[in-house]
């Protein structure tokens, strides 16, 4: 299993760079993961990351686009603006959760 150092802390990841152990995640690691994607985290990003965190703890899965819209009240356009070229995948990675396994 690959290990890499983010924000001065070693973390375990899968081949694609998703954290495999969420307990190793913190806000500094989120900022470092975001930087890898060329993203500087702001309030809009944190609204998404906080929703993924809450929803994952409840449902055991990263929410899809429709759930982000309907339950998280985050419009599709906002998600693409905040996390360009792969909104759910990038948001899941930065929030320290696994790669989404859904097609939609």
């Amino acid at each position: 299993m690959p290990t890499k150092t983010l924000a001065g802390t070693p973390v375990d990841t899968d081949e694609e760079g998703f954290l495999v152990n969420h307990s190793q995640w913190n806000k500094d690691i989120a900022a470092a993961l975001a930087a890898e994607e060329g993203i500087t985290l702001g309030d809009g990003h944190w609204k998404v990351l906080d929703f993924i965190d809450t929803d994952f703890k409840e449902k055991g899965a990263v929410p899809g686009m429709r759930r982000m819209n309907k339950v998280g009240n985050i419009p599709t356009k906002d998600l693409y603006a905040l996390f360009p070229d792969g909104p759910i995948k990038k948001a899941a990675k930065i929030s320290g959760y696994p790669k989404p396994a859904s097609c939609v």
Binding site: M65, R66, R67, Y80, S102, C103, V104
Partner: protein, 163 residues
């Protein structure tokens, strides 16, 4: 990753539920991966973007030998039963319920989602003429009516998928 797909142009030519959804799922999935997506609706596929009809697309219960009841692992549905009034509506209702549970949006919402994701929605000029349609017949997400030539221009340099 150097051979990553950068652009897909998907042609949706069928107007049944199972004819439309694959194109929408692939188009939306492309945008979710950062791939540029163009959706070109032609012939009966055009019903997926017609304001008045896009919310009531049905699955065909006749002429589909793979159709099984009461679920996907049940018995093949005999053609004569598939032709009974209400059968198509019932099968559509069942399938919509399954999709709702998976958070796959209904067609009008899905078109809006793809549009908001930056996917382009195009209508085929030949079909528009043949069906005597005007711009007022289309959902607001429809970007443009294209000729085949326009479509090839837009699709240039990417992959074309026919569904």
């Amino acid at each position: 990753m150097s051979d990553k797909i950068k652009k897909v142009s998907i042609i949706v030519s069928k107007g049944s539920l199972d004819g439309i959804y694959p194109g929408l799922i692939m188009g939306n999935g492309a945008r979710m991966e950062g791939i540029e997506a163009n959706l070109f609706f032609t012939f009966f596929g055009l019903y997926a973007i017609l304001k008045k009809y896009m919310g009531s697309i049905k699955i065909a219960t006749v002429g589909n030998p793979a159709m099984r009841v009461p679920d996907a692992k049940g018995f093949p549905l005999p053609t004569i039963l598939g032709a009974l009034p209400g059968m198509s509506a019932f099968a559509t209702h069942m399938m919509n319920k399954e999709m709702e549970a998976l958070d796959i949006p209904p067609i009008p919402e899905f078109i809006e989602m793809i549009h908001d994701a930056g996917g382009k929605i195009y209508a085929c000029k030949a079909t528009v003429d043949m069906f005597h349609l005007t711009l007022a017949d289309f959902c607001p997400q429809m970007d443009k009516v294209l000729t085949v030539g326009d479509f090839y221009d837009i699709a240039a340099g990417g992959q074309i998928i026919f569904t």
